[in-house]
């Protein structure tokens, strides 16, 4: 704003108008004054220079404006000229005066300096101007009988009935709950679980990286980390995070097109599309996505046609800056049957390993999930459960069991009840591993990239010893082979050696999170190849 032309603040405009009104009131009959002056206030005033000013009179309707211009222009002009000391050009506008003031108030925020330069021009000096200027223009406006509609925020009408009453259709509460419903309708359509959101995700050292990356991706899909590759064992929260990303993106922008599917669904869809000669539809669907979420991507490894299609989809999406999020139970370099070109693409993004939840985190997860399920579990009991359950998924199962006991059988949550449930859950839910001893040794060898013969052999280098001990541990724990029998698989070692190995692994698993995870991953693989 140049110094020669300055807009006046709302308070100043009103001050001038008040003075002009006082004068006009003397000249006009009360009927004329109240009809043509009071409801048609001065809403804006601009001093162009020392002699010229531009005034805006806002009328509620064109009737007012037309007749004001025709009949009272001179009187108004004279009054304004006198009180501004300038020659006023009057512009007649139509609109709601309170809205016009609200606009002024907004633009004033940006042009406070204009006020200083004209402060001295006004006679008499406005009283307590600085104070008035700081306060919003709202109280001033009430003098025109029109309170600025608070309706901008809440459209609550004055309802006189005390109780009961009809709720307000446009209350914050209705709006937000409708918004929530809308979002959950969309996420349900996409296939996301509405309870898998960031708010219900318990964060600890083992998953904070993944959580941070997922949050970043969900807030800036396509530009933060692309693709995001989350991997980790069973029940560490990969799926939860993936759903949370999807849910948060919908919350931020319900119009984003999100596709969520599991590696298996993706595979089935391709097979179906190829069989029904609908490959184009498939392509159109996946390649139009703003966000593609594929859970358990390891499932496509080894399936050539599927990998091929996924590769092209992947390229098309990254090219148009669509976000891709993938989860897997192992890192890309351990997905043996994955095509190299896909592996390199996965590895090009951000890869994050989610560790097995620690005891504290498991307790936290339990409490979060219990709260979500409206089950009140005391912290001591939560600790008991967390100490005996490894994965978050099992925790969920246990909470469901507790809830059904409480709701259906009307039992209260006691240590006895928890113990009972744990006994059943843990024995039942353990992954069943039914493989031959040879398969265990082969799997362990593959996992550590060692030769089977070396594991069975007698050399005692460190990596070999660890792998050998894990194999022994698994043979003992999961196949329940006798110690002597196990010894025979490893160059006829003594049963005490085997016992030592088993104990060592047990101890190591408690101490070392990474180690625990390795074993869990191995168990997963074994469970997968079990018959």
């Amino acid at each position: 704003m140049s110094t020669s032309s300055v807009g006046l603040t709302t308070a100043q405009v009103q001050q001038i108008w008040k003075q002009a009104c006082a004068e006009l009131q003397l000249q006009l009959s009360p009927a004329v004054y109240s009809t043509w002056i009071v409801s048609n206030p001065l809403t804006h005033m601009m001093f162009l220079d020392e002699t010229q000013a531009l005034a805006t009179i806002t009328s509620p309707t064109a009737f007012h404006s037309t007749n004001l211009k025709k009949n009272l222009h001179l009187q108004i002009k004279n009054a304004l000229d006198k009180h501004t000391g300038r020659n006023c050009n009057i512009e007649y506008k139509i609109g709601d005066p309170s809205i016009a003031f609200a606009h002024n108030a907004q633009s004033e925020q940006n042009s406070q300096h204009g006020f200083e330069s004209i402060k001295t021009d006004i006679t008499p000096p406005p009283i307590e101007f600085s104070q008035r200027n700081d306060a919003s223009a709202f109280p001033e406006m009430q003098s025109f009988g029109q309170v600025l509609p608070q309706a901008q925020q809440s459209y609550s009408a004055s309802n006189t009935s005390v109780s009961p009453r009809v709720g307000d259709l446009f209350s914050e509460q209705t709006l937000s709950s409708a918004q929530t419903d809308r979002i959950s309708a969309i996420s349900r359509k996409v296939g996301l679980r509405s309870d898998y959101v960031f708010e219900t995700f318990a964060v600890s050292t083992t998953n904070e990286m993944a959580h941070a990356a997922a949050t970043a991706v969900s807030n800036r899909p396509g530009s933060a980390y692309n693709p995001l590759f989350l991997y980790g064992g069973v029940g560490v929260g990969k799926t939860h995070l993936m759903h949370a990303i999807g849910n948060n993106i919908i919350k931020n922008d319900p119009n984003k097109k999100i596709i969520y599917s599991t590696g298996e669904e993706f595979t089935n869809e391709i097979v179906h599309a190829i069989r029904n000669k609908k490959a184009n539809e498939f392509k159109a669907k996946y390649r139009s996505a703003d966000v593609l979420l594929i859970d358990d991507i390891q499932f496509i490894a080894g399936k050539n046609a599927v990998q091929e299609e996924f590769f092209h989809t992947f390229n098309a999406l990254t090219k148009q800056l669509s976000q891709i999020v993938l989860t897997s139970d192992r890192p890309p370099h351990e997905m043996n049957l994955l095509e190299d070109r896909l592996r390199s693409r996965f590895e090009a993004g951000l890869m994050i390993d989610i560790g097995q939840p620690s005891f504290e985190l498991r307790t936290a997860i339990l409490l979060v999930k219990a709260k979500a399920a409206r089950v009140d579990i005391p912290i001591e009991l939560a600790k008991t459960i967390a100490s005996q359950v490894e994965s978050a998924r099992k925790i969920e199962g246990i909470i469901t069991s507790i809830r059904s006991e409480v709701e259906l059988k009307r039992r209260s949550i006691t240590p006895e009840l928890i113990e009972e449930i744990l006994r059943v859950e843990i024995t039942e839910k353990r992954p069943v591993i039914k493989v031959t001893p040879a398969e265990i040794i082969r799997t362990v060898a593959n996992h550590y990239k060692l030769k089977q013969s070396a594991i069975k052999g007698t050399r005692r280098s460190k990596p070999l010893v660890t792998a050998r001990h894990i194999a022994m541990y698994l043979l003992k724990e999961d196949l329940s082979l006798p110690l002597t029998e196990i010894g025979k698989w490893f160059s006829g070692r003594d049963h005490t050696t085997v016992l030592h190995a088993v104990r060592k692994i047990e101890k190591e698993m408690i101490l070392d999170e990474q180690f625990h995870q390795d074993v869990s991953a191995l168990r997963m693989t074994l469970a997968a190849i079990s018959r």
């Binding site: 109240s34 009737f63 037309t66 509609p149 459209y155 009453r165 409708a178």
Partner: protein, 369 residues
């Protein structure tokens, strides 16, 4: 000024002006009717400065002139006179109205004080009279009468991709009606006062025009209808319309399809008792059906099964203002009416099954159990 006009014509013209003559205006001249006699005929006009009507009358004019005549007295007088020719003659502040057997002298104010009607120029919109009447019928009833919030006294005309949406709400209920009409892509949202629109429809019915055009001047915030011999001026309401799309519920855990006549009969009976207690009627929705009840602390209670109600979803207890439901039933005249609900305090969506273009949202009552 001297002119001859048929009583029938003048009376009809004055009924069109009726709503535009304020009974007790700040500016006294506004309670009068502006009477302009020119060579081409007579125009009578009235306005309260927010709403204005002008009517062109067939008349023979001997000498031209413009006068203002006290509105109420003129209307009463003319409507009591028999059909036939009237002669109106003005001189020196007095108007003489002569019929076959009567002679009336009326004191008149000077015409100079009467406000001028604005010149409205802008974009033209055209509706068929059925469309305009349908809008009033389907959404006109749920506007607010609170003049402090003009936005809620209006009907929103919003051009969307799906067609023209017309919406009204009083803050507790919402009506939407989609007009099967193509709208220009750049058309603007309009807020027209429901009461004024109702008056337009009343006149449209009498004038028997099939197509109604109106001009909207965004600059003057004015809407101008020209319907046959009648011109109507109304203001364009300014302000932000509530975010109506956002509160239309999308998730329903309980859905009921009512036989409209059964529902209506039951509400009528319930209303006998509900009238004493803010029109509250309660629905108890179970798998077996819907039970309606109303209680009056002094009179007693009514309970009825609404026959033919098809329920799906969870059972629910919910209370409504009976009038809201009645208004919808009256507007849509559908054989069956569908309601989708989720919680006792969340808004309810209501759709006439035969008429998908209209949708209604009502807020239930908060009832202390």
């Amino acid at each position: 000024m001297k002119t001859h006009v048929l009583q029938e014509n003048l009376q009809r013209g004055l009924t069109y002006l009726a709503k535009a003559i304020p009974s007790n205006p700040q500016l006294p001249v506004l309670s009068s009717v502006l009477f302009e006699a020119t060579k081409s005929g007579v125009i009578i006009s009235a306005t309260d400065l927010y709403f204005g009507v002008r009517v062109h009358l067939q008349a023979s004019v001997d000498t031209e002139g413009t006068i203002v005549i006290p509105g109420k007295q003129l209307k009463e007088l003319i409507s009591s006179l028999p059909n036939g020719k009237l002669t109106l003659e003005y001189s020196e502040g007095t108007l003489q109205i002569k019929s076959e057997k009567t002679k009336t002298k009326l004191q008149c104010q000077s015409a100079e004080d009467y406000p001028q009607f604005p010149q409205v120029e802008g974009e033209t919109y055209t509706f068929s009279s059925e469309e305009l009447q349908a809008i009033d019928k389907f959404v006109g009833f749920s506007t607010s009468t609170d003049q402090a919030r003009p936005v809620l006294t209006s009907i929103l005309f919003e051009p969307t991709e799906k067609g023209l949406m017309t919406v009204s709400t009083d803050g507790f209920r919402l009506s939407t009606y989609k007009v099967s009409k193509n709208v220009k892509g750049d058309a603007e949202k309009l807020l027209l006062q429901a009461k004024a629109l109702q008056e337009v429809n009343r006149i449209v019915k009498q004038v028997e025009e099939t197509e109604i055009s109106f001009i909207v001047s965004q600059e003057l915030k004015q809407v101008y209808f020209s319907i046959g011999d009648v011109e109507i001026y109304m203001r364009l309401i300014e302000g932000e319309y509530p975010p109506y799309e956002k509160i239309i519920p999308t998730i329903f855990t309980t859905e009921v399809e009512f036989q409209a006549s059964e529902l209506d009969d039951n509400i009528k009976r319930a209303m006998i008792f509900a009238r004493d207690s803010s029109n509250i009627i309660r629905f108890a929705i179970t798998e077996e059906g819907v039970e309606i009840s109303a209680t009056s602390p002094s009179l007693g209670t009514y309970t009825g099964q609404i026959a033919g109600s098809k329920v799906s979803g969870k059972h629910l207890e919910i209370a409504f203002n009976a009038k809201y439901v009645q208004d919808i039933l009256k507007a849509v005249q559908s054989e069956t009416v569908w309601m989708g609900m989720s919680e006792s305090l969340k808004p309810v969506l209501c759709r006439p099954s035969d008429f998908p273009a209209a949708e209604y949202v009502i807020m239930p009552f908060k009832v202390n159990e």
